[in-house]
C-alpha cells in the first residue's frame, strides 16, 4: 500500500517499522473475516484493515481525535488478523505504535485515565493485586446497584489442592516458570498443578522470586517503556537460573507467554539486553508445547471420557512463538473433546479489555459461551488466566486451566 509518512516520524525506529509493516499490506480485506469486533459491528473502522488506515493517516500527519482512539481501543489485539493475513502484516506491532502515537495526542477523560492507572499500578503487581482481590471478596456483599457488575471481576476463592512446590522432588532437569501478577491470587492451582505434572515427568519447575508481571498490561496500555523495564527486570531475575542450566521458560498463562516471547523484539535496540532477551525468547514455551515433547504415556487415562470443551486463547492461536498442543494432550489423557464452533474468535477477555470495553467483551463472551456449551461439556478448559476468569464469571460450567485436569 502506498504510504506518505511524515518526515519527523520517518527518522524514528517506530516510524520505520510502521512504514515497513504498512508497505506489506495490500488492502485485500481478508483480515476482516476473522476480526471479532468487525464481525459484531460491520464497521470498517472496527476491522484490522480500517484500523490500519486510521493509524496510517495519523502517521501521515492527520491529527487524530477521540474517534480514532475509540476504534483502536476496541481492538482486542487478539491477532486473529495476523494468522489470516497472507501478506504477513504484523498488525499487533503496528497497533502498539499507532496507539502510542494517538494516546500522546489525544487526552483521555479522567475516569478512563484512572482505570488505566489502576490496571498498570495495581493489577500488574502481584501483592497489590492479591490485596485487591482479598478486599474485593470481603466487600463483595456491599457491591450493589451500579457497583454490582464489579462482582463479576472478583475471582472466586479456590479450594487449595494441597501440595505445593516444597513437596515435590528436586530433579536434575529444571525449567523456569513465570509466577505472574494476577494468577497467583486468582488461580493458584494452575502453577501448583503444573509443578505436580512436571514432577511426575522428572522435571522441577522453579520460580524466580523477583520476576513479576510480564509487561503485557503496560504494553497494551501504550506504556511500552514500562513494558521494557519489566522485561529487563524479569531477565535479570531469570538469568542466573538460565546460566545454571534451566532448560526452558514454561508459560502457564499464554497471555504472559506471548509477551515474554516478544522480549527479543522489545529489547532489540538495547545493547545491554538484546542478546539475553533473544535467548529468553528462544527459551519461552507454552506449557503444552513442552509437554507435547515429553513421553506422557505414564499419565494414563486421567480423563475417563469426561467431556471437555477447549477454548484456545488467542495468544496460543495467533502469537508467533507459542504453539498449542492442548487438544492433542487432553485427548491422549482420555478426555472427550466436544465440538466448539468459531474457535478462532476471541472470548473478549483480551488482557484488560474486559475491564475497559465491558459491552463488547460481554457480547463476545456470550457468543463464545454459546459455542463452548453447545457440546454439553463437564468442564471448559483453557490456557490463559484472563480467559478463565472472564468466562467463569458468566457460566455454570466449571472453567479450569487444562493443566489442572492432568494434575
Amino acid at each position: 500500500m502506498q504510504t506518505a509518512i511524515i518526515e519527523s516520524l520517518r527518522e524514528t525506529t517506530d516510524g520505520q517499522e510502521a512504514e515497513r509493516i504498512l508497505r506489506a499490506c495490500t488492502h485485500c480485506g481478508f483480515c476482516t473475516a476473522t476480526c471479532p469486533t468487525y464481525q459484531l459491528t460491520g464497521d470498517e473502522r472496527d476491522s484490522p484493515r480500517g484500523r490500519i488506515y486510521l493509524i496510517k493517516q495519523t502517521l501521515e500527519g492527520a491529527e487524530p481525535t477521540a474517534r480514532t482512539q475509540f476504534h483502536l481501543d476496541r481492538c482486542l489485539t487478539c491477532r486473529a488478523c495476523e494468522t489470516t493475513c497472507p501478506s504477513g502484516v504484523e498488525y499487533a506491532r503496528l497497533a502498539d505504535i499507532g496507539r502510542g502515537l494517538v494516546d500522546s495526542q489525544v487526552e483521555r477523560p479522567p475516569r478512563e485515565r484512572a482505570i488505566r492507572w489502576g490496571l498498570r499500578h495495581i493489577v500488574a503487581h502481584r501483592r497489590r493485586f492479591a490485596f485487591l482481590v482479598a478486599l474485593g471478596r470481603a466487600m463483595s456483599p456491599l457491591l450493589v446497584g451500579r457497583l454490582a457488575p464489579l462482582r463479576d471481576k472478583i475471582p472466586p476463592r479456590r479450594t487449595s489442592t494441597g501440595q505445593d512446590s516444597h513437596s515435590t522432588t528436586a530433579h536434575p532437569r529444571r525449567m523456569l516458570m513465570l509466577q505472574g501478577c494476577v494468577q497467583p491470587s486468582a488461580a493458584p492451582n494452575t502453577n501448583a498443578a503444573a509443578r505436580r505434572v512436571f514432577d511426575r515427568l522428572g522435571i522441577s519447575l522453579i520460580e524466580a522470586e523477583t520476576a513479576g508481571c510480564c509487561g503485557a498490561l503496560h504494553q497494551h496500555l501504550s506504556h511500552r517503556e514500562t513494558a521494557r523495564e519489566q522485561a529487563r527486570r524479569n531477565i535479570d531475575a531469570w538469568w542466573p537460573y538460565i546460566a545454571d542450566g534451566a532448560e526452558a521458560l514454561v508459560m502457564t498463562a499464554s497471555g504472559c507467554g506471548a509477551q515474554v516471547a516478544e522480549y527479543g523484539h522489545l529489547l532489540r535496540d538495547d545493547p545491554a539486553y538484546a542478546d539475553k532477551a533473544a535467548r529468553v525468547t528462544e527459551l519461552t514455551h507454552d506449557v503444552s508445547d513442552i509437554l507435547a515433547k515429553q513421553d506422557l504415556s505414564g499419565l494414563g487415562d486421567i480423563g475417563t471420557g469426561r467431556r471437555v470443551a477447549y477454548h484456545p486463547p488467542c495468544t496460543l492461536q495467533n502469537a508467533p512463538g507459542l504453539h498449542d498442543h492442548v487438544a492433542a494432550i487432553l485427548a491422549q489423557a482420555g478426555f472427550k473433546l466436544t465440538h466448539v464452533g468459531d474457535a478462532h474468535l476471541c472470548c473478549g477477555s483480551a488482557g484488560s479489555y474486559s475491564i475497559l470495553q465491558p459491552e463488547m467483551a460481554g457480547e463476545l463472551r456470550r457468543h463464545k459461551l454459546d459455542n463452548l456449551e453447545s457440546g454439553t461439556p463437564d468442564v471448559i478448559a483453557t490456557a490463559n488466566i484472563g480467559c478463565q476468569l472472564h468466562l467463569e464469571a458468566a457460566t455454570g460450567v466449571p472453567v479450569r486451566h487444562w493443566i489442572e485436569l492432568l494434575a
Partner: protein, 502 residues
C-alpha cells in the same frame, strides 16, 4: 409550495447539480441514527478504497445501515437530492467497483451479515448481502451441502458483492458463476422502492432480470437479500498438483485435459513467481523450482474420481509434466488449495503493491497469451506473476509495482491496458469475473462499439434515469471513449508516449 421546495433545493445544489454536504447530512441525520452516518474525514478515510487501493477517493458521506428500511431511506433522500450512491460490501473487490465518489454517498452493506434461512427441502439459503461467501458453506457444512462459487477472497468477500460482480472462482468451470447459483434477489431501487427479482422456482416468465442484475456492478439497484442455491457436497474430491518446467507445455496441458472430455471441478495455474510467493506463506508443498503448476480437481463418486484422475494423470504425462502429486485426503486437498486461495495477497511478500488483471481468452490461446504477457513484462520493465483459472481461460496477471515510486503506477496501468488488448486480440474479453469497475473502463471502449455502449446506457436509464447508482463505473460514457480513442490512436497523450501499445 412546490416552487418553494424546488427553490430551496436549487439553492442547496452546487454547480454540477449535487446537493451540498450540509444539506444532505441534515436530511440523513434527521431520518437515521446519527452513529451510522459518517461525515468527518477521519472516519471516512478508511472507506476511500476497496481491494484495489491504487484508486482512492474520499466519499462525501458514508452510511452504515442495518435494516432494509434504512437503505430505502438513504436511497429516497439521495434520489431527492440528486446525489450519487456507491454500494459497498466487504470492500474486497479488485476492479474499484466500490470506489467512492467525492460528491456521493458510500452505502456500506457490511452490517447485513445474517443468514436468514436455510431450506434443506429445496436446497436454498436466504442470506443478507453482507454475509461472507465462505460463511454460507460453513453454515451448511454439517448438512452435507455447500455454495459452489468460490472466489479466492471467499473468506472475506460478501455475497452481495459476488452478485454485483458475477464472481467466479475455482469451481466455476464445472458449477458455473454466481449467476448460475442464485434464484432470487431483493433489491432497493434508486427511488428507494423494494423489488423482488427472480423467484424460488427454477425459471420465471418474462425477461431474465435476475441475469441482468447479476454482474451489473451496482449500476441498477442495491441488493438487500439473496436466495442462493446449495449443492450436495460431492462424495469425493481429489486434486492433482502437476508441475511443468515449460510454460507452453503447461498451457497446452490445460486444453488437452478439457479436450479429453474431462470437466474438472477446478483447473488452476500458477507460474513461478506466484509459486514462490505463495509457498512462503502457506507451505503447501508447491515445487518452488517449477516453471508452472496446474491444480486439477475432479469430484464425484469414488469410481468417477478414480477414473477421471487416472485420465488426468495420463494426459498430463503426455503433455510433459515433470511431477504429479494427487491429494491423499481432504486435509492435503485443502492444503493444495490454500496456496492458490492466498496467492494474490501473498504477493505483498514480494512486492509492496500489485495490480490484478482479469482478461479471459479461449483456452487454446493460453500459451500464446502467457508468452505475450511475458514479453510485455520485459517491455514495460515490470514483474508479473500469473495465478489463474486456466480451465476457464480466465487470466489473472498480477503486475507487481511500488506505488511509492513515482511513475510506476502509470506504467503499470499502461501495461495492464496492453494485457487487456492482447486478450481481445486473441478473441477474449477484458474481464472474466472481477468486473470492469474503474480499472478496465477504458478497455470497454475497445471491446464494445458505440452502438452497443448506447444500448448499455439505455438499460441503465431504464433502472436509473438520473444516473445516480455507481456512476462512472462499468460502462464508459461515449465522451470518455472518444477521449480514450483519441489517446489510443494518436498515442501522444498517453502517460508513456515512448511505449508502443498493442
Amino acid at each position: 409550495m412546490s416552487d418553494v421546495i424546488s427553490g430551496e433545493r436549487a439553492a442547496a445544489l452546487d454547480a454540477d447539480g449535487a446537493a451540498s454536504k450540509a444539506t444532505l447530512v441534515a436530511a440523513l441525520t434527521a431520518a437515521l441514527p446519527h452513529d451510522i452516518v459518517l461525515t468527518d474525514e477521519e472516519s471516512l478515510r478508511p472507506f476511500e478504497c476497496d481491494g484495489l487501493s491504487a484508486y482512492r477517493a474520499l466519499p462525501m458521506i458514508a452510511v452504515l445501515p442495518a435494516t432494509v428500511a434504512q437503505v430505502q431511506t438513504v436511497m429516497r433522500i439521495c434520489h431527492a437530492h440528486d446525489t450519487p450512491v456507491v454500494a459497498r460490501g466487504a470492500g474486497t473487490g479488485l476492479s474499484g467497483g466500490a470506489l467512492p465518489l467525492e460528491k456521493g454517498v458510500l452505502l456500506s452493506l457490511a452490517k447485513f451479515n445474517r443468514i436468514v434461512d436455510i431450506d434443506t427441502d429445496n436446497l436454498r439459503a436466504t442470506v443478507q448481502p453482507g454475509v461472507r461467501n465462505l460463511a454460507i458453506s460453513e453454515a451448511v457444512d454439517h448438512l452435507g451441502l455447500y455454495y459452489a462459487p468460490d472466489p479466492s477472497s471467499q473468506i472475506a468477500c460478501s455475497i452481495g458483492g459476488n452478485v454485483a460482480e458475477n464472481s467466479g472462482g475455482v469451481h466455476c468451470l464445472k458449477y458455473g458463476l454466481t449467476t448460475h447459483n442464485i434464484v432470487r434477489l431483493e433489491i432497493v431501487t434508486v427511488e428507494g422502492e423494494r423489488l423482488t427479482i427472480g423467484s424460488d422456482a427454477l425459471d420465471t416468465p418474462g425477461y431474465d432480470l435476475l441475469a441482468l442484475m447479476t454482474g451489473s456492478e451496482g449500476l441498477l439497484g442495491v441488493i438487500v437479500e439473496i436466495v442462493v442455491k446449495l449443492l450436495p457436497k460431492p462424495e469425493l474430491a481429489r486434486v492433482a498438483l502437476i508441475a511443468f518446467d515449460d510454460l507452453r507445455a503447461a498451457g497446452n496441458a490445460v486444453a488437452d485435459i478439457i479436450k479429453a472430455g474431462i470437466i474438472p471441478a477446478g483447473l488452476e495455474m500458477l507460474d513461478s513467481p506466484a509459486i514462490v510467493a505463495t509457498e512462503a506463506f502457506v507451505h503447501a508443498g508447491y515445487p518452488t523450482d517449477a516453471t508452472a503448476i496446474l491444480l486439477c480437481e475432479v469430484d464425484g463418486t469414488t469410481a468417477e474420481v478414480d477414473e477421471d484422475m487416472a485420465r488426468v494423470q495420463a494426459v498430463a504425462e503426455a503433455s510433459g509434466a515433470t511431477e504429479i502429486r494427487v491429494s491423499r485426503d481432504d486435509a492435503e486437498r485443502a492444503l493444495f488449495w490454500a496456496g492458490r486461495k492466498a496467492a494474490f495477497p501473498a504477493m505483498g511478500r514480494i512486492s509492496p503493491d500489485y495490480y490484478c488483471m482479469d482478461g479471459t481468452i479461449p483456452r487454446a490461446a493460453l500459451s500464446d497469451v502467457l508468452i505475450g504477457i511475458a514479453e510485455l513484462s520485459e517491455h514495460y520493465g515490470q514483474r508479473v506473476a500469473n495465478v489463474f483459472h486456466a480451465g476457464d481461460g480466465n487470466l489473472h496477471p498480477l503486475i507487481l509495482y511500488d506505488a511509492n515510486q513515482p511513475g510506476e503506477l502509470e506504467r503499470t496501468e499502461a501495461f495492464g491496458g496492453a494485457i487487456c488488448e492482447l486478450c481481445l486480440k486473441h478473441g477474449g474479453t477484458i474481464t472474466g469475473e472481477h468486473g470492469v469497475g474503474v480499472e478496465k473502463i477504458d478497455q470497454m471502449c475497445v471491446q464494445f462499439p458505440t452502438a452497443e455502449l448506447q444500448q448499455f446506457h439505455a438499460v441503465k436509464a431504464a433502472f436509473d434515469e438520473k444516473t445516480l447508482l455507481n456512476p462512472g463505473k462499468a460502462v464508459p460514457t461515449l465522451h470518455r471513449c472518444a477521449e480514450f480513442g483519441a489517446m489510443h490512436v494518436h498515442n501522444g497523450a498517453l502517460p508513456f508516449p515512448e511505449l508502443e501499445r498493442l
